[in-house]
Symmetry: C2
Subunit: 324 residues, 2 copies
């Protein structure tokens, strides 16, 4: 399948990476700008760790572990075991292979490369044809404000296992950040045919991208439909705290919560067959709905959902929808 125009995809970690994989199998490298959240990034053990960039990188390279859902296949954990013996901080698991990317990235950043340059270098070395674009080269750090106080994202997500009830989310550094060069270039294109919001956590993976000054406006100005793929399936998140956060912060549940969160931004929402009963309600709120199998287990699942989503998006005309 080829697209008549350029596609911008906004993407977080695991779920988003799966759809991104599908998109790369359907679109040429020139036809896709794959923009990845960096709000989850953090400094740990002196290393700069970028979980979403890494998940997308490993997924596109076919190196991701499919059972565990994160990290590299065939990973070993001898570094962590030894770090524990040395009395080091060990709440965040780093595999022996995975560590190579963190060490290499940290070193290249220290040598003056931008995160975009580092990512381009690493993905080229792994043989990836499609560019993986960090949303920004400046650090933006997601902070979850919980009833126990503010927590940097990885402390909330990994160390505290998302247990504290969230009251709000902020993105430290976002106001001082600008979109990365490739993201800026994509937002300025005249030939954008669709913007795809991958099935990632709206609060934690997509909102940080939208928090970069100018991004939301630029998306609104694009003469292209914006379509999100719901990360909520059958009322639940397949992975991560999306459902918990939608309830705690938005007071809603299910795909309705996703639609409400993206109100004003998206023209259409792709929902799973298990949520088909919600389609009419979505349409009543002015959001087009596509019901499509959204659980991506195999590579074929990923490609099929990407194809369905692209066809759905390019079948919508944003201006018409806006007029409606």
């Amino acid at each position: 399948m080829t697209s008549a125009g350029h596609v911008i995809a906004l993407c977080g970690g695991v779920g988003g990476a799966k759809l991104a994989f599908g998109l790369t199998r359907l679109l040429d490298p020139e036809g896709l700008s794959l923009i990845v959240n960096t709000g989850d990034d953090f400094e740990h053990l002196g290393l700069t760790i970028c979980p979403d960039l890494d998940t997308v990188t490993y997924t596109l390279a076919g190196l991701a572990d499919r059972e565990r859902g994160w990290g590299l296949a065939g990973e070993t954990w001898n570094f962590m075991a030894q770090l524990r013996k040395l009395g080091g901080e060990h709440w965040f698991n780093l595999g022996d292979k995975d560590l190579a990317l963190h060490v290499e990235r940290t070193q290249r950043l220290a040598a003056g490369q931008s995160l975009s340059q580092v990512t381009a270098g690493v993905t080229a070395a792994l043989g990836l044809r499609h560019a993986i674009v960090p949303m920004s080269d400046q650090p933006v750090r997601t902070i979850v404000d919980t009833i126990d106080g503010p927590l940097p994202f990885q402390h909330y997500f990994v160390r505290e296992q998302c247990r504290p009830v969230a009251r709000g989310i902020s993105f430290a550094g976002a106001e001082q950040s600008v979109p990365s060069p490739a993201f800026t270039a994509a937002l300025g294109r005249q030939d954008v045919a669709a913007v795809i919001i991958c099935p990632s956590n709206p609060y934690l993976s997509i909102d940080p991208i939208l928090a970069i000054p100018g991004v939301a406006d630029a998306l609104a100005r694009l003469d292209a439909p914006v379509v999100a793929v719901s990360p909520i399936i059958g009322g639940r998140a397949l992975k991560g705290p999306a459902a918990k956060l939608l309830a705690e912060l938005g007071g809603l549940s299910g795909v309705t919560a996703v639609a409400a969160h993206y109100a004003g931004l998206v023209d259409g929402l792709v929902i799973d067959e298990s949520d088909a009963c919600e389609a009419d309600r979505l349409r009543e709120t002015g959001i087009a709905a596509l019901v499509a199998p959204s659980v991506m287990t195999s590579d074929d699942d990923r490609i099929r959902l990407a194809r369905d989503t692209l066809a759905f998006a390019t079948g919508l005309t944003r201006r018409e929808l806006r007029r409606a």
Copy 2:
């Protein structure tokens, strides 16, 4: 065996670490100051790597690999394999477990701890009773001046495999360095019974320690015999470039070269049985000689050589030797 006074041991990597192991089995933690060379240390992949400190740490902890001669037993190499895939610098092998120490040390140094503090923390976590003392908390970096130009030590030793002919050796940063606090304290003790120079490379492991301003003078002022264990056995170095450097830089070979290099510093030299024929020649030059089995294969070998060396050293009286 208990010593009547305090023992200061100067130590490099593999060979030195074996004798250090023996000394720790004979002397209480309070009876031994184990001073380790840091001239081999270097910054690599953004990490501070201290090969001699690590070899001594792993050897004393019983974690060292005995077959390979360096690094940890049961080591894996998945980090390196992945780093190679990412296009990273891979001429220096870093094991997955070993990496934990470099990452932890680099992080603690960045947080403001001194190398002495980091080393104390790590060795305590590993359950070591004896302190391992870096010669200095300031960076001192051995540079080998070769006919191909100056090479930082690890580039000479690992990347170039010691092939370039050496013309001289210098210790960058030595002039600005001071002995570490525990080394300074040891040098100021009134109860030093012996100084043991472990069977390490005289040029690369011991000279950096002696290059720290004040150390050579302080050793000369001590009212205690200084005894070296020859790293040259049967005319060869068991490991590393000691014999090559002694020939290239000193123009001599065998234990005679070791004695000549340490002239004015040592009162006695321990030589292997295979070099027994050199004993009389050494004595003619005013250096006491002990012939003792010096190849340390088993833990018993290490302890026996340490015992022989301590008995030899404490049997000498430095002042009498000086008057002779």
